[in-house]
């Protein structure tokens, strides 16, 4: 149950928001000249990363504004929220050790549930 910070209204339950897919996919200006493959890219191709994704959300039940959010899809950790038009912030995230692997912690992976002998304890900084 995400707790999302609307840039205007503050932290709200996910129930108030509508998801708008991957962010920073600009609608091609000169679609006329665009090859079919590139238009298909705009329509359909997505990075769908396991890691940090920039995504669009709309505070549908609140101020009805669209905004962008950085989230780690390997952990669902929300890393940043920023307004449309603002540049994508630099963030550091708890990323998977291997491309298809799981984040060291906070993932849904079944293998990552137990600390390896000698693994550092204590809460995540």
């Amino acid at each position: 149950m995400f707790l999302i910070r609307c840039p205007w209204c503050g932290e709200r339950d996910i129930a108030e928001f509508a998801h708008g897919g991957e962010a920073h996919i600009a609608r091609p200006e000169d679609s006329e000249e665009l090859p079919d493959s590139e238009w298909a890219g705009y329509l359909f191709l997505r990075t769908n990363p396991k890691g940090v994704i920039a995504e669009r959300w709309n505070h549908q039940a609140g101020c009805r504004r669209w905004f962008n959010m950085l989230r780690n899809t390997a952990t669902d950790d929300i890393l940043a929220v920023y307004k449309v038009g603002e540049p994508r912030p630099e963030v550091s995230a708890n990323l998977p050790a291997t491309p298809s692997g799981e984040a060291a912690i906070g993932s849904g992976n079944d293998a990552a549930k137990v600390m390896a002998p000698g693994e550092r304890g204590g809460p995540v900084a």
Partner: protein, 416 residues
């Protein structure tokens, strides 16, 4: 392969079950294989099985990063049906249904295929119109499918409420009698055992970290257990399809969403069939153990955490209680999530790629389980011959460029 039957059970029973063989080996990865299948789920193991059985390819490795069947295969609600709208879909899902019918015997492993019937409910005129259109198309495609009036729905599925006073009254339903459910683990294990017995190496706890490409073609894969050379790689990693493709710099028309499911405590038989409703977003069946197995819609965002939101479950339960008031006091015993790779047209991708020798079988979204045998069958054919057969052809990546999508949102709107 050691035979499984009553006789062997009794024999082993008398000797303390000392004589059972391992269902599969735990081989070390070899330096090279004719073909490498990434992903030890139902689709991946089926692919390896048919490669070995029908294309004589025995030098195959199935690489699984965890334990076989631990992804969507072990998390889905095992609804089997083929009543899809488009000819292309009907072809592949019906092919699967035909294979399911005899798979248990073929694999010598009881997959508990139960043709108990699948109801798709209509709650308003628009839905009824769409479902009737599907029934008609199904009939002409040789897919068993019929339209039931509310009273017939009630007769086929007694616990359901057909009260006209309901917020979403049941005004009819389609029924596919040959549809039903089966046992997901058994399918995975059955395919694994059969493939292993034909020489396929099933390598668990081994994760692909990179795919080696030379001159535009695959030459091998790097794994957490060393490099493996091969000229053919089949990617069958469901939710992680985009992640593997990204190793090759490929972007796909896929987004990976959480899909949740849950089971109730086991109760004596009460639900004789599978019931699905798009309008209220819930689908339910009862397992052989007695648990009600319930699914709903996907969460709207991309996530690989195999977790979803509770509010999806709350809506799902409200919908279930609305349809089945007598289930209200039963209890949710266990909930979980999977990662479903969804395509824009709610149809799968079975395709070659710009990279020579690299093939993708994914994008099954919420409906992959029912297709498992046909998916493996068609994909094995693609991996073996390098080009799609008639069943796979409509599902290549090309369709997203030409626009020839196979739109199945109506038939696949609710997870199943």
């Amino acid at each position: 392969m050691q035979r499984y039957n009553v006789v062997s059970l009794i024999r082993e029973g008398l000797r303390g079950h000392a004589g059972w063989q391992p269902a599969w080996r735990f081989p070390e990865p070899k330096a090279s294989y004719d073909a490498v299948i990434i992903g030890g789920g139902g689709h991946g193991l089926a692919t390896a099985y048919y490669l070995a059985k029908e294309h004589g390819l025995r030098d195959i490795a199935v690489i699984e990063k965890g334990w076989i069947g631990g992804g969507n295969s072990g998390r889905n609600t095992t609804v089997i049906r083929s009543n899809y709208l488009n000819d292309e879909s009907a072809a592949i899902y019906q092919h699967a249904l035909d294979l399911w019918k005899t798979l248990g015997r073929e694999l010598d492993y009881n997959i508990m295929m139960s043709h108990r019937g699948v109801l798709n409910l209509a709650h308003d005129e628009g839905e009824a119109r769409q479902l009737k259109r599907r029934v008609e198309a199904n009939r002409l495609n040789g897919v068993d499918s019929e339209w039931l009036e509310p009273e017939d729905v009630k007769e086929f599925c007694p616990p359901i409420s057909i009260s006209p006073a309901a917020r979403y009254p049941v005004i009819g339903a389609t029924l596919q009698r040959s549809g039903g459910t089966n046992r997901h683990d058994a399918v995975v294990w059955g395919y694994a055992r059969a493939a292993d017995s034909m020489g396929v190496d099933i390598i668990q706890q081994c994760e692909v970290t990179n795919i080696v490409v030379e001159g535009g073609a695959v030459t091998g894969v790097e794994t957490t257990r060393g490099k493996i050379s091969t000229r053919r790689v089949g990617c069958v990693t469901a939710g992680h399809t985009s992640v593997i493709a990204a190793m090759l710099g490929l972007k796909l028309p896929i987004e990976s969403h959480p899909l949740q499911a849950l089971v109730s405590e086991p109760v004596k038989p009460i639900l004789p069939c599978v019931v699905m409703s798009n309008a209220v977003h819930v689908y339910v069946s009862q397992s052989d153990k007695g648990e009600l197995v319930i699914g709903a819609g996907i969460d709207p965002y991309v996530s690989y955490t195999q977790r979803g939101s509770l509010d999806i479950i709350e809506h799902q339960m409200a919908a279930l209680v609305e349809l089945f008031p007598v289930f209200a006091r039963l209890r949710m015993m266990r909930q979980w999530g999977g990662i479903v790779d969804v395509c824009p047209d709610a149809s799968p991708i079975i395709s070659d790629t710009p990279v020579g020798g690299f093939f993708i079988n994914g994008g099954w979204g919420t409906g992959g389980w029912k297709a498992t045998p046909a998916s493996g069958h068609a994909f094995a054919d693609l991996v073996a011959r390098g080009e799609p057969n008639a069943i796979a052809a409509p599902f290549t990546l090309e369709r997203f460029t030409t626009g020839a999508l196979v739109a199945e949102h109506g038939a696949a709107a609710v997870a199943h």
